[in-house]
């Protein structure tokens, strides 16, 4: 059984469209996207709201999760890094973790065939 892996990419909302297209091109046909709030080195600008200092440290980000099997993780990572890197703080992170089983509900197929 080939290994199955989850790749989780957290990045800027404005990059989602490009990332989706790029991943599509290397054959990723499924992913799940979540709107999240990111806390990291990137901070929101110091703002004033009605005269009170106020800084936002939770910034809107997207999380893109995809489970891959046939497609090598390294390829996914490379494409993602290439698409997302701007060199500025806030480009995001990629987390890779193991998945032990995948089931496609519609057909009942499992693992590689389910993807």
């Amino acid at each position: 059984m080939p290994e199955m892996t989850k790749v989780e990419i957290i990045t800027r909302q404005s990059k989602l469209e490009e990332l989706k297209t790029a991943l599509n091109e290397i054959g990723i046909t499924g992913m799940t996207v979540t709107n999240v709030l990111g806390y990291g080195q990137q901070k929101g600008q110091k703002q004033k709201y009605r005269g009170v200092d106020y800084s936002v440290d939770l910034l809107p980000k997207v999380k893109v999760e995809m489970v891959v099997c046939a497609i090598p993780v390294q390829q996914v990572v490379d494409v993602a890094v290439k698409t997302l890197r701007t060199g500025e703080i806030g480009d995001g992170k990629i987390f890779v973790s193991p998945v032990t089983r995948v089931i496609k509900v519609r057909t009942g197929e499992e693992d590689e065939k389910a993807l």
Partner: protein, 430 residues
């Protein structure tokens, strides 16, 4: 006789239009207060803005109108008979139903101002009670002093054309006393290095708040111009008709609003580095409140100046109340209505030069002194009655929602409404 019919009809129509527009300000207040507070209390604050009008309309009809416009006892209070519980045929007492309606919506405005400053943490029951009391006697009695022809302040020459003092500064004062006694929302202030620091709690829908401001502005074109009460006065010559006065009131009202908001815009731009949206919107209201007392008796140029000053007052006022006094007023009601209302009353004494009034700029000190006195009296009355009521409620633990409810949100805990936007966040039945 025909003259009487025509002027009666036109003047009554004028009150109708004014009354309808001022009524709609309830929607404006509801939207402003909802938009500038958090989503978890959206149903509650809307409800409060509705309830004050419900109770106010009934109680003002039963007794408030009589206390305000009934035969005066020494200029201090009206005797509420005759005007009390008006229940005659339409054709009996000329004009009074129209006047009752017009005055009712003004009364409700005073009551509704308070809800914004005390939003997000007041017990609903307490709200129902104090908003009832405001319409029952706090507003009507002071109203008698100023707007009844026999009221003692009125006789002194005190001039508050459409209610900068009566409606707004009293509403703002009550709001201040209430918010102070009630204490801030949880999380509003924190101690940093032994110093109290204010935290921003942004509103959940600035767009609906802005719509509310536009609605209020729209309503104000009833509030101020219709306070001429008449368009036609058959006893006056054609070049001194009240409709001419009303026309000028449109201009002074609008210029002051525009000047104040423009000032807030540029002032915050300078001060905070960015033109602040919610402050500019507050600026509109500040200008409207500020000109309300004097819109009939100052020149357009003066109205511009009054507005500019109101724009500065509201910006610094909100900041001061929040960051120095540490009194938590989520929508800025104290600065907008209280401070700018007081400013509006004083401004009469400074800028009046038309419609028979003469302020400092015409070299007359008398009016200025009267305005000062009157404003102090109004603030004192509101502060005193407010203090007694809110303090009593507070010591009996009745004023403030409990901590758990406040944290969860008043919609869920006081109204059983999981969220005013339930379906944006799906909720299901067992």
């Amino acid at each position: 006789m025909d003259m009487e019919i025509f002027s009666g009809a036109v003047n009554t129509l004028w009150l109708f239009i004014g009354g309808i527009l001022v009524f709609f300000m309830q929607a404006g207040f509801a939207m402003v207060e909802t938009g500038f507070t958090r989503a978890k209390n959206a149903g509650n604050i809307t409800m409060k803005n509705c309830v004050d009008f419900l109770l106010g309309s009934v109680v003002y009809w039963i007794i408030g109108y009589g206390l305000m416009y009934g035969t005066s006892i020494g200029g201090v209070i009206g005797i509420p008979f005759g005007q009390f519980f008006m229940n005659s045929s339409a054709y009996e007492p000329t004009m009074s139903y129209a006047s009752l309606f017009f005055q009712t919506v003004f009364c409700a405005t005073t009551a509704t101002i308070v809800s914004g400053a005390m939003a997000e943490r007041t017990n609903f029951k307490a709200y129902v009670l104090y908003s009832f009391l405001i319409s029952l006697f706090i507003y009507p009695i002071a109203g008698h002093w100023v707007w009844s022809p026999d009221g003692w302040l009125s006789k002194l020459g005190f001039h508050d054309f459409a209610g900068s003092g009566i409606v707004h500064s009293m509403g703002g004062t009550l709001a201040f006393v209430g918010a102070a006694i009630l204490g801030p929302r949880i999380g509003k202030y924190k101690i940093v290095n032994g110093k109290k620091e204010s935290c921003a709690i942004p509103g959940h829908n600035i767009v609906i708040g802005a719509l509310g401001v536009f609605i209020l502005w729209f309503g104000w074109f009833g509030f101020n111009p219709s306070s001429t009460q008449a368009l036609i006065d058959t006893s006056l010559p054609s070049d001194s008709q009240p409709y001419l006065l009303a026309a000028k009131v449109f201009i002074t009202t609008n210029l002051s609003a525009c000047a104040a908001a423009t000032t807030a815009l540029f002032f915050t731009w300078k001060r905070y580095g960015k033109p602040d949206v919610s402050m500019t919107l507050n600026g509109v209201l500040a200008g409207l409140v500020g000109i309300t007392a004097s819109c009939d008796c100052v020149s357009p140029l003066s109205s511009l100046i009054i507005g500019i000053i109101a724009g500065i007052i509201v910006t610094l006022g909100i900041e001061f109340i929040d960051t120095k006094l540490h009194i938590d007023d989520p929508v800025g009601a104290v600065a907008v209505h209280g401070l700018c209302g007081a400013w509006g009353v004083i401004a009469v004494g400074i800028f009046a030069n038309d419609n028979g009034f003469e302020g400092l700029i015409t070299g007359n000190f008398q009016l200025f002194a009267t305005q000062l006195l009157g404003e102090i009296v109004l603030i004192a009355w509101a502060a005193l009655t407010g203090f007694v009521i809110f303090k009593l409620m507070n010591v009996t633990g009745f004023l403030r929602a409990n901590k758990e409810d406040e944290l969860t949100g008043l919609d869920a805990t006081e109204h059983g409404l999981p969220s005013a936007y339930a379906d944006f966040m799906p909720a299901y039945k067992d």
